[in-house]
């Protein structure tokens, strides 16, 4: 029995909602990181008495959060926070900035207990929540001082015992993403705010109380699904799995304001798939797509996917290594996306269900399936006991 595109798109939307952070949890996360920000701002720091800005970056900021899953079990949300000291990086040192944050967090009785070991770039606070869906707050110490909006900031980087500066532009990237997302956002924002205010009137009494960060366009939904699909399909072979930054950037470039998540995925995945020939150094047939140069193969065999806010940064700088292992994994993943998400009308309902269980997670499909796919009135299933199964074969070579 087939499934309609409408039902399927609705199903994907519901799945993405399940993977997303709930409005209640969102509000909790914001109040948690604001407290961290206040605590850091109240600190006394040697040679620094300026302002400290705390703001989210990455998927939490972009509205593309998905709940991580490992070995079939749902894990805590990752929330990335920038902790930006308003000063020139050249006026201080990476190690000093990193430890300002670490030491200040250790002065707090509770944070001290929650603090994980020092990371390469972050300090991580582990919040375990009563409902089991906790989060990791990754605090990224940095220095930034510029009169120009959306300038890069300097983040600290620890290699062995040495600290150095690296450049990053989380606000610039977020602004670029929001721009790509802006038209679709305008179309869906009011309706979604109404619905959220309706369902969560205890925390957002008025429509205007609902923060913009809770709105999700088909682009954001598509990215969430792609991320979960990657996590599931690469389970156990994480090393070459496509990174979120690449899929987010390419999806945002390719999104054409489709009005539902199925159409958005279809467009994005088909255009990604059109780049597959690059693996064999073939040209991209679609000239307009080729001219955009979103994924490039250079004459020396290396690959290029630029950071839209800093073309010098190449997200695919390691794609040529080990016989193009990451490039191959990327296009394999695109092929899986095609088979798992597209061409639904040519597939059977139950085969869609089982495929989605495999690529999005059994429990989440179990939760939303019956809501979105009307079950045909059928009799009880006929019980069959399989005792001597044959092995399937195929005639011809």
């Amino acid at each position: 029995m087939a499934i309609t595109i409408n039902n399927f798109s609705q199903l994907l939307e519901e799945v993405a909602k399940e993977l997303d952070i709930s409005p209640t949890k969102y509000k909790l996360a914001v109040s948690r990181y604001e407290s961290v920000g206040a605590w850091l701002n109240d600190g006394e720091y040697e040679n620094f008495d300026g302002q400290i800005n705390i703001y989210p970056q990455g998927s939490f900021r972009l509205g593309t959060v998905v709940r991580p899953i490992r070995e079939q079990s749902e894990k805590d949300y990752d929330i990335d926070l920038v902790c930006e000291f308003e000063e020139q990086a050249s006026a201080t040192q990476a190690g000093i900035v990193k430890h300002r944050v670490g030491n200040r967090l250790k002065e707090h009785i509770t944070y001290k207990e929650m603090l994980d070991e020092e990371g390469r770039r972050c300090w991580t606070l582990l919040y375990s929540e009563q409902d089991g869906a906790g989060f990791h707050l990754d605090v990224l110490p940095s220095s930034g001082f510029s009169a120009v909006n959306y300038s890069p900031i300097s983040i600290t980087h620890k290699e062995n015992e040495n600290y150095s500066w690296a450049s990053s532009n989380p606000k610039g990237y977020a602004a670029w993403f929001e721009e790509r997302n802006a038209d679709a956002y305008r179309l869906v924002a009011l309706d979604q705010k109404r619905m959220i205010s309706n369902s969560f009137s205890d925390i957002y009494a008025k429509v205007d109380d609902v923060p913009d960060q809770l709105i999700r366009t088909p682009l954001q939904r598509a990215i969430q699904l792609m991320k979960r699909h990657r996590d599931m399909r690469f389970n156990g072979n994480q090393k070459y799995a496509p990174i979120s930054m690449i899929m987010t950037t390419l999806a945002a470039h390719l999104y054409d304001n489709e009005t539902n998540v199925y159409d958005a995925l279809t467009n994005i995945v088909n255009k990604l798939s059109a780049h597959m020939g690059l693996l064999e150094n073939k040209v991209i047939v679609d000239e307009r797509l080729s001219a955009r140069g979103l994924i490039k193969r250079l004459p020396d065999g290396t690959w290029y996917i630029g950071n839209p806010t800093n073309p010098k940064e190449n997200f695919a700088d390691r794609w040529h290594e080990e016989g193009d292992a990451r490039a191959k994994a990327f296009f394999q993943w695109v092929e899986w996306l095609k088979q798992d998400f597209l061409a639904v009308t040519q597939r059977d309902r139950d085969s869609i269900r089982f495929t989605l269980e495999a690529c999005l997670g059994k429990s989440v499909i179990g939760k939303v399936w019956s809501k979105c796919v009307p079950s045909p009135a059928v009799h009880e299933p006929t019980k069959v006991n399989i005792s001597r199964p044959a092995k399937p074969w195929r005639s011809g070579e």
């Binding site: 088979q339 309902r349 085969s351 006929t382 019980k383 069959v384 399989i386 044959a390 399937p392 074969w393």
Partner: protein, 211 residues
Amino acid sequence: MNKLIHEQIQAVLDSHPNLWLVQNGSDILLSGSLHFSASVEGKETITANYDVKISVPYSYPRDLPKVFPSGYSLDKRFEHTNPDGSFCLAVPIEERELFELEPSLLGFINNLIVPFLYGYSYFLKYGEHPFGEREHGNKGILDFYLDTFKSRDARTVLTSLHNFAVHGYRAHEKCPCGSGKKVLKCHQTELKSLLKNKELLMADLAKFITR
């Protein structure tokens, strides 16, 4: 339609109420959805519902039905469909053997189609075949005979089978598996079952043995 087949169809309709009979001249088609809950020892029970068309040839039961997905095609990653789009349930002689366990249309559904669809569902969920799979074409056929006698020695299995096929079953001959034992004390059951379908056996052997 003769009475025997009519009774067999009725048994199918009683057991699988979502299938119905479409009759067009001498062709018999069972169409609709196969809604089953299949259990296998040591594996999970899978409940699923697939739309199928089961085409029963005029020459049934000499020839066995073909089964087609109805209104969709199987996932390409699951490679076991025939060029005409029908399910490739098993190599022909194995299909015949399993059919003869319960030689009726209902038996065909429960012993061949449902296990196939169980395997397909399992494959979609976990990316692997719960019962294994055969290679395509002749390799898969050879593999079936080797499997049957739990041997890797194709030459011995095939020449010995050929002798049995030509001269008939003789209990004191050596077993095709290469154990050196008399077949009477070895793979007697397996061999006898193969010899029941001598035509299919000979046709298979002709693919490997040049005269």
